[in-house]
């Protein structure tokens, strides 16, 4: 295990920013720390770096407890959200900064910096000052600077937060390639779930200072451990339904809920692409009215209002959408092909991934 975080907590005055967070990071992994702003993800990253002191808990890097090691001695590379480049220094001297501090030989510094500039596609920009660079170039200088003295861990705080959407996409792909090449253990913070899914080997989902779930992007997406994760990652329809005789029933909607006592209120979640809609009112068992159609570029989002007055979102790919002649306001039929009963608010024990008890298809 490269990094181990045990029961990490951080208190800022009377505010608990991080509450008993534990996780491990494998050598060479690219880990995404995901959560809304104020969820404690950046504080966790800063504590690992040594920029923030934990109130309680342990941080272990390479088998050594580093809680009492100052940031200078932790051998980490940190990339700040707004680059934090030294404006009074050229690109070359920005990247060389740490190497000079560590008293590398002149020749070695020159070699290392020019290697890094080539790796980051920044050749020929060594003599420029940061304010003459584009956002993407600045970010790459910041990463080069952080990597210069071969840190054992690379920490990135919202690395693509300050660049526009197109550059953001390029930088993501570029970071994945860079990580494939260098294999340096990396943790990055983001509030963008798509970014986290695309870039990370594994995702840590944070909410209100707590770690909600750790898992592969597909696990976090397919098997959200908590309602928060379900809501935060991807879009999900969520209904609150009362259980009776092992079935959660809401009008004509029935969800098997074996093992839950009668009268219990459960939350049933299903992804929009698990809601199938047809213009033929007899195609599926359930009836609704098509409220609105949204064009998303790669697909369509349909908003339907069921006969019981529930608003549900459905997602349909272009090919399927074109088979129909949907009209807003017209009656439609629909089916829910897959659902899951979400863990209750406040419980943090992840449910068994695909237990037939609480997950399964409903026949149309």
């Amino acid at each position: 295990m490269k990094i181990e975080v045990r029961n990490l907590s951080k208190q800022f005055g009377s505010v608990e920013a991080v509450t008993r967070v534990s996780f491990g990071v494998n050598e060479g992994e690219l880990l995404g720390l995901l959560g809304p702003s104020g969820s404690g993800k950046t504080t966790v990253l800063r504590m690992i770096a040594g920029l923030e002191m934990p109130t309680a808990g342990d941080i272990i890097i390479d088998g050594v407890r580093v809680n009492d090691l100052p940031v200078q001695q932790r051998n980490i590379g940190f990339v700040f959200q707004h680059y934090a480049l030294f404006k009074h220094l050229t690109v070359f001297h920005n990247v060389a900064f740490g190497l000079k501090i560590k008293q590398w030989k002149r020749q070695d510094i020159r070699q290392r910096v020019s290697d890094l500039l080539r790796l980051m596609s920044l050749e020929g920009l060594g003599d420029r000052y940061p304010h003459h660079l584009s956002g993407g170039q600045r970010q790459r200088v910041a990463i080069a600077r952080a990597l210069a003295s071969r840190p054992s861990v690379l920490l990135l705080d919202e690395p693509f937060g300050a660049v526009d959407a197109k550059v953001r996409q390029e930088l993501r792909e570029w970071l994945i390639r860079l990580h494939d090449d260098l294999k340096v253990t990396s943790l990055f913070v983001t509030h963008d779930q798509e970014e986290a899914m695309e870039v990370s080997d594994r995702i840590l989902v944070f909410s209100k200072g707590r770690l909600e779930q750790v898992g592969l992007p597909s696990e976090v997406y397919e098997d959200p451990a908590t309602e928060f994760v379900a809501r935060f990652i991807g879009s999900m329809n969520i209904l609150e339904v009362v259980v009776k005789n092992g079935t959660a029933r809401m009008g004509p909607l029935e969800f098997p809920a074996v093992g839950y006592p009668d009268g219990h209120r459960v939350r049933v979640g299903f992804r929009p692409y698990h809601v199938r809609v047809a213009e033929d009112p007899s195609m599926f068992r359930l009836r609704a009215k098509l409220r609105h159609v949204y064009f998303l570029g790669v697909a369509y989002r349909l908003e339907i209002e069921t006969d019981e007055g529930l608003l549900l979102r459905s997602r349909m790919n272009k090919e399927e959408f074109r088979q129909y002649k949907f009209q807003e306001g017209a009656p439609v039929s629909y089916a829910i092909t897959q659902f899951r009963i979400l863990p209750e608010e406040g419980t943090h024990a992840p449910l068994p991934a695909s237990s037939p008890l609480n997950r399964g298809p409903i026949s149309p």
Binding site: A49, V71, I76, F78, F80, A84, L85, F86, R145, A146
Partner: protein, 265 residues
Amino acid sequence: MRRFLITIVWLYFAVLLIGPVAYLCSEAVREGAATFGAEITKPEALHGFTLTAEITAIVLVVNLIVGTATAMVLARQQFRGKAILSGLIDLPFAVSPVIAGFMLILLFGPETILGTFFGTLDIKILFAFPAMVMATLFVTFPFVVRELTPVLQTVGTQGEEAARTLGAKEWQVFLLVTLPSVRWGLIYGATLTVARAIGEFGAVLVVAGNVLGLTQTATLHIYQSYVDFNYVGAYAVAATLLAVSFAILTLLEIAKARAVASIAQ
């Protein structure tokens, strides 16, 4: 209307600034360049220039160090009473220099504890060099602090944190990152300090007593020459100081532009 306003502004400048400066310069050389040269190289005049330069140099060094430290505390630390301290820094702007001088006299007078203490050590504070430095320090203290504090706040701490993650120790962070990133603000504050120190008159007059060849700074020398009806002498020294001030003003404008630009980047 626009033309009228511009004319008014020019007239105001002409009467208040350009006229007096031009007149002063012409009066200074009225009896020829030789007289001008003789006046500003008279022993008393030279002594005045030297004394002013010495006081200015010491005040500048002290303000750079203490002012930077104070600005760092005000910009970076949160503590009880910060607002009061921050308000007190502007006190020298609000208090007349003459009053500042009197406060020093009261503090170091022969009957006071401090006065007695230095008296027994046979160290002369009042009517001597130390009091002149202190008086000038008092009136110039706000400049570096006031210029540097907002610059430090704007620059923020991320660059410093970045330096730490790259292995820099605290003194390296300060010298290699903090100081360079606020250097133009610091130079601006220093320039204002120098300008004010050279021009100081009231506070120094009160604490130093204008003793010829001993505690007579350049500005006191101008005053003395004028009172003694040596107009050419007064004008010559004044014109010299004016030239220095003009040079400082130019530097000030450059520093200001750079400071603004370095923040904007």
